[in-house]
């Protein structure tokens, strides 16, 4: 392998053996979990802050505005100022709300996105858990967030929240299908659900190129369906600030609102990194056939940079969607899924299986 210089496997092994020599196996696992937890939490917070800033800037540029530009150079400290404000804001208790569920809901939403991030390969060896059903795990866990959304809407004692939560439920139930099926198209091609193996299988060409047109269609379908799954515009019916004030998180304030806000952006990041891992080769560098010189230069860029660049490319696409398209009505939303995406997906899987059977992919 040419990219061994950036391999983190030996580094993590070294930490593991070092810990095991100094304490019992139980404490080793506890300490390792703590280290990974702190690392992922820091990463999570930083990415969340950055994404909020990026979204505001991208949105502003697409609307011929400047966006945040007062706090710090180009407004880069704006989100940090917002975060400090959110931490200091009073938590308003809601009359007749179901206190327990009301307080539980933001944690479910944030834990769901937090669990999904653990299975994502950031670089070779930089991978918290490498399950053999990694892709399945990520889909399953990230879909759990909707329970938090439903609980939030239900327990708020507010009709707007309830309508928003119910819409979100209908949306997730239908679009989860498309997300799963479009990923299965690639699983057929890769022959594995283990994320590390999916990435390694793309060493000689990303799946979006390898799988010809079906892979490209699967990528588009995945983008549309996952945008809907993360409740982002043009599918943001669950929030729909022009009709439902803020949907399911109308009644939340302060840090609890910040949890929903952060989880929304992290879900976008997770979805984008799945798209990058599965379709765009994850941390694999960009290689073109037999251009050895070119390939060698590409190998020098660290895999983590590749991963981040690809993820942010997908995130940019999703922001582009959000700030271009008008919001869909609920019937249009369901029509799009059941009459268009689902049939296309099923035909697409058939074509992909046929291609794999005949060995037409390279």
């Amino acid at each position: 392998m040419p990219f061994d210089i950036y391999d983190f496997t030996s580094f993590t092994k070294w930490i593991d053996t070092g810990l095991q020599n100094s304490m019992s196996p139980f404490w080793t696992i506890v300490v390792e979990m703590l280290i990974i937890g702190v690392l992922i939490l820091t990463f999570y917070a930083l990415i969340g802050l950055f994404l909020v800033y990026a979204e505001r800037k991208v949105c502003a540029f697409m609307q011929n505005r400047l966006g945040p530009n007062r706090v710090g150079p180009f407004g880069i400290f704006q989100t940090i100022a917002d975060l400090v404000k959110l931490l200091l804001v009073e938590l308003i208790p809601i009359k007749n709300a179901d206190k327990f569920l009301f307080n539980l809901a933001p944690f479910i939403v944030i834990i769901a996105s937090f669990m999904a991030i653990a299975a994502i390969p950031f670089a070779k060896g930089l991978h918290a858990i490498d399950l053999n059903i990694g892709l399945f795990y990520v889909i399953a866990v990230s879909a759990m967030g909707v329970i938090g959304v439903l609980l939030a809407g239900w327990s708020s004692n507010n009709k707007y929240s309830l309508i928003g939560a119910m819409r979100s439920g209908a949306q997730i139930v239908s679009y989860e299908l498309s997300v799963g099926l479009s990923l299965i198209t690639v699983v057929i091609l890769a022959g594995s659900m283990q994320l590390s193996e999916i990435v390694l299988a793309q060493a000689d060409g990303w799946f979006i190129f390898k799988g010809h047109i079906p892979a490209f269609i699967a990528f588009i379908v995945f983008l549309v369906a996952s945008t809907a799954e993360t409740n982002r515009g043009p599918f943001d019916l669950a929030e729909a600030e022009s009709e439902l004030t803020a949907g399911y998180h109308t009644e939340y304030s302060g840090i609890k609102f910040a949890f929903f806000f952060l989880a929304e952006y992290m879900n976008m990041f997770i979805v984008a990194s799945i798209a990058a891992t599965v379709f765009l080769g994850g941390w694999m560098p960009f290689h073109v056939g037999h251009w050895d010189g070119f390939n060698h230069i590409m190998d020098f860029i660290p895999p983590f940079i590749w991963y981040i660049v690809k993820t942010f490319f997908v995130i940019f696409l999703m922001m582009w969607f959000k700030w271009t398209f008008p919001r869909l009505r609920i019937d249009q939303l369901l029509t799009l899924e059941w009459k268009y995406l689902l049939p296309i997906n099923l035909v697409n899987i058939l074509i992909m299986s046929f291609i794999v059977l005949m060995g037409w992919h390279y």
């Binding site: 991208v58 697409m62 609307q63 271009t324």
Partner: protein
Amino acid sequence: MRSIINYIKEIILGVWSLLKGMKVTGSYFFRPSTIVTQKYPDNRKELVMFERFKGEVVMPHNEKNEHKCTGCGICEINCPNGTIEVISKTVLTEDGKKKRAIDKHIYRLGMCTFCALCVKSCPFNALAFSQEFEHAIFNRALLIKVLNKPGSQLMKGVEQ
């Protein structure tokens, strides 16, 4: 068969129209020159307001401190909010005739809605709008302005 062709056509047309929309926003994103936002307090020095902007009513004077206002009071009659008050006086012309002239043309900026009826209805084009827009002050009395400058006179040849 026809329905399948229509179905595919519909998808392609839909995607095409979405791509058209994305082209517009994308072209704005990649061309920062299209940004219209002004960084106002920072660019105060070089900020140029456009010509038809209605900042406040002024009475243009020429370099000899002469204006075109005859004191006819049409602007006062036309003003819907009573913003303008023309106080006139009588002066003796060179050939000994008595004649009306303005003593004070009072303009209350705080009551003005910038409807431009005074400027449009003035038969001598004595009034105009300036581009000045920073009107905030701490004393309300300062919003009452006298538009004719002290010692100013009617321009020759306006009344013929």
